[in-house]
Each structure stands twice: as C-alpha cells, then as structure tokens.
C-alpha cells in the first residue's frame, strides 16, 4: 500500500490539474457607452433660447 502512495498522490495531482484545465470561467463586463438622449439636448437648447429671448425682450416686455 505504501508503495502505491506516491503513485496515488501523483495521480491525484494530475487529476487536479486536469480538472482545473476543464473548468473554464469566463466573465464579461458589459461597458455601455454613455448615451445622452436627444430629449435632454432639446430641453437644454430650449432653456438657452428662452433665456436669450428674455435677455433681449425683457426690457421691452416690461414697458
């Protein structure tokens, strides 16, 4: 039995390597690009336009 111990140990090590070789892990990380939706851009532009209109016509409207 003792004679076979090294062989058994070697076999166990080989089996372990084999098992890890078979076990494959794969991970994927999805990196989505940042999206600025068109609605937000439109709202920002409208706010700027309204401010520009207020800056010009504000005095006139107050007359």
């Amino acid at each position: 039995m003792k004679k076979f111990l090294p062989i058994i140990a070697a076999a166990a090590v080989l089996l372990g390597f084999g098992a890890t070789a078979c076990i494959r892990t794969q991970s994927e990380v999805d990196v989505k690009p940042i999206e600025i939706k068109p609605v937000h851009i439109t709202l920002d532009i409208n706010i700027k336009i309204e401010k520009a209109l207020d800056d010009f016509f504000g005095d006139l409207d107050a007359l």
Binding site: I49, L53, F57, D61
Partner: protein, 141 residues
C-alpha cells in the same frame, strides 16, 4: 518689409473687421430702440383687435381688419426686426429661426393682455384670457 506687411495687415483688420464687430452690437441696439418706439402703436392695434400674435412669433393682421398703410408698414418693420433677433439667437444657440420664433410666441401668449388675439399652437385664434384664468389653466394642465 516685414514691418510694412505687419502694419498693412493691422490696418486692414482695423478698417474691415472692427466695424463688423461694432455693427452687430449697433444693430441690436437699433432694433431694440425701434421696437420700443413701435410698441405703443402696436398695443393700440392689439387692443382694437386689428392685429394679433401668431404662433410663429410675429404680428398678424386679423381678418376683416382695416389697417392703414402706415400700420401695415409698422407691422412689416416689426416682424422684420423680430426675425433678425430670432435669427441671431438661432445662430448663437444652434437652432432654427422658426423654433426660436415658436418659443417667443409661447412667451408672448403667457404675457398677453386680456382680450388680445393670440394664436395657439393648434393654429386657432383666441382672445387672451384674464391673467388669473391663465394661472388656473396652468394648474389644470
């Protein structure tokens, strides 16, 4: 020779570039001044129901309105100046003259005096309600 070239370029810039920068500011000030001068007459025409504010941000004569030639010229001049202002803002903000005009029309509708003709976004002409009613409409919406 190099000095002469540098001086020539500087002189060219002074003669042609500076007046263009100044004229833009002068134009805006002139337009504003002209609009202020026209305003009393425009208000009179609005109260009389002869003209209204359309949904594009311009003055428009009402159907069956009898306008004098001077009034027609006044409306044309006012609309021309408004268009120039809208164009300047549109260029600055990367929009269109039409869109700027529509946003201005929305502002005008919110400030319209009671009884003045205003054109809604749906194209229908209505008389501006009392300011209190406008607030109620906003709440309902």
């Amino acid at each position: 020779m190099k000095k002469f070239l540098a001086l020539s370029i500087a002189a060219f810039a002074l003669v042609f570039a500076v007046p263009q920068v100044l004229s833009a500011a002068d134009d805006a000030a002139t337009i504003k001044k002209n609009m202020a001068e026209r305003k009393p007459k425009i208000e009179t025409l609005k109260k009389a129901g002869s003209i209204g504010e359309n949904k594009s941000g311009y003055l428009e004569a009402m159907k069956d309105a009898k306008l004098e030639d001077a009034d027609k010229t006044l409306i044309e001049d006012e609309n021309k100046d408004r268009k120039a202002v809208y164009a300047a803002i549109a260029k600055k903000e990367g929009s269109t003259v039409e869109h700027v005009g529509e946003l201005r029309a929305k502002q005008i509708r919110s400030k319209a005096a009671e009884g003045e003709f205003i054109q809604g976004e749906d194209g229908k002409w209505v008389k501006a309600p009392k300011p209190a009613e406008k607030k109620d409409e906003k709440k309902e919406k």
